[in-house]
């Protein structure tokens, strides 16, 4: 988990993926196996997790920037706040960092 940084309160939060090669993603069926080399942990994940990790691999992004990258590649659907919930899950597991 990333400790809180000295970010002024009006700067939007942003997210960063792990370094290239830090995670291995293996499609199985509608689910994907994921191996995190840094922790040695294996996860079983569903979309949109691999899509989010790929989009963040392009560079640090705010939630809005991330949404835009996803909409560039997909027809995005889901409850308002769903992206934030997915990002929280990924931060909690140490797969991405909140800056």
């Amino acid at each position: 988990m990333t400790p809180p940084t000295d970010r002024p309160s009006d700067t939007p939060v942003s997210y960063r993926a792990a370094a290239p090669g830090a995670t291995i993603v293996t499609p199985l069926d509608s689910l994907y196996a994921l191996y995190d080399r840094r922790s040695g942990l294996t996860q079983l994940v569903a979309q949109p997790v691999p899509a989010i990790l790929s989009a963040l691999a392009e560079g640090v992004a705010t939630p809005g920037e991330l949404q835009a990258r996803l909409e560039r590649d997909f027809a995005v659907e889901g409850e308002a706040g769903a992206l934030a919930a997915r990002l929280d899950e990924l931060v909690a597991l140490g797969l991405i960092e909140r800056l």
Binding site: I24, Q43, P50, F74, A75, A85
Partner: protein
């Protein structure tokens, strides 16, 4: 992020790919309460080795002099309603049978059985018999 075998970003499958030409793949972000990640936990050795047998002392040898109340907590000897501990530990298989099929532990009266089973249900990591109890509980 390294991709094994598959070239594309989050490989589509039948659930996600719309067959209609010209429409893009749907990405469902999901609902707020839903979880999309399950972590793999290590398997306990006892459950993966079919002929391992273990035992659970009631109570833990370090607290052998204490009595067991009907709710399974340890109390001073002679407390009304409490029973003394068992002289011999119980085999894991016997405990599993008693917990899942509702029978009783071998050689126990109804009062002893209730107290002992409640004691076992309250076992914590670090207490004698906990590993055995944990292996009984793992869904097989």
């Amino acid at each position: 992020m390294e991709r094994s075998e598959d070239q594309r970003n989050g490989a589509p499958d039948a659930d996600e790919t719309r067959a209609v030409a010209g429409r893009r793949r749907v990405l469902q972000l999901g609902a707020i309460g839903a979880a999309t990640i399950v972590s793999v936990r290590p398997a306990l050795a006892q459950t993966a080795v079919s002929v391992m047998t273990c035992e659970i002392p009631v109570p833990d040898p370090a607290r052998a002099s204490q009595y067991i109340a009907p709710d399974g907590t340890l109390v001073a000897p002679g407390t009304p309603g409490a029973v003394p501990g068992s002289a011999t530990p119980f085999a894991g298989e016997d405990v599993r049978r008693a917990l899942t099929q509702g029978g009783s532990l071998p050689g126990t009266s109804a009062d002893q059985n209730e107290a002992y089973l409640n004691y076992i249900r309250r076992l914590q990591a670090g207490t004698g018999g906990f590993t055995c109890f944990a292996s009984i509980q793992m869904p097989r």
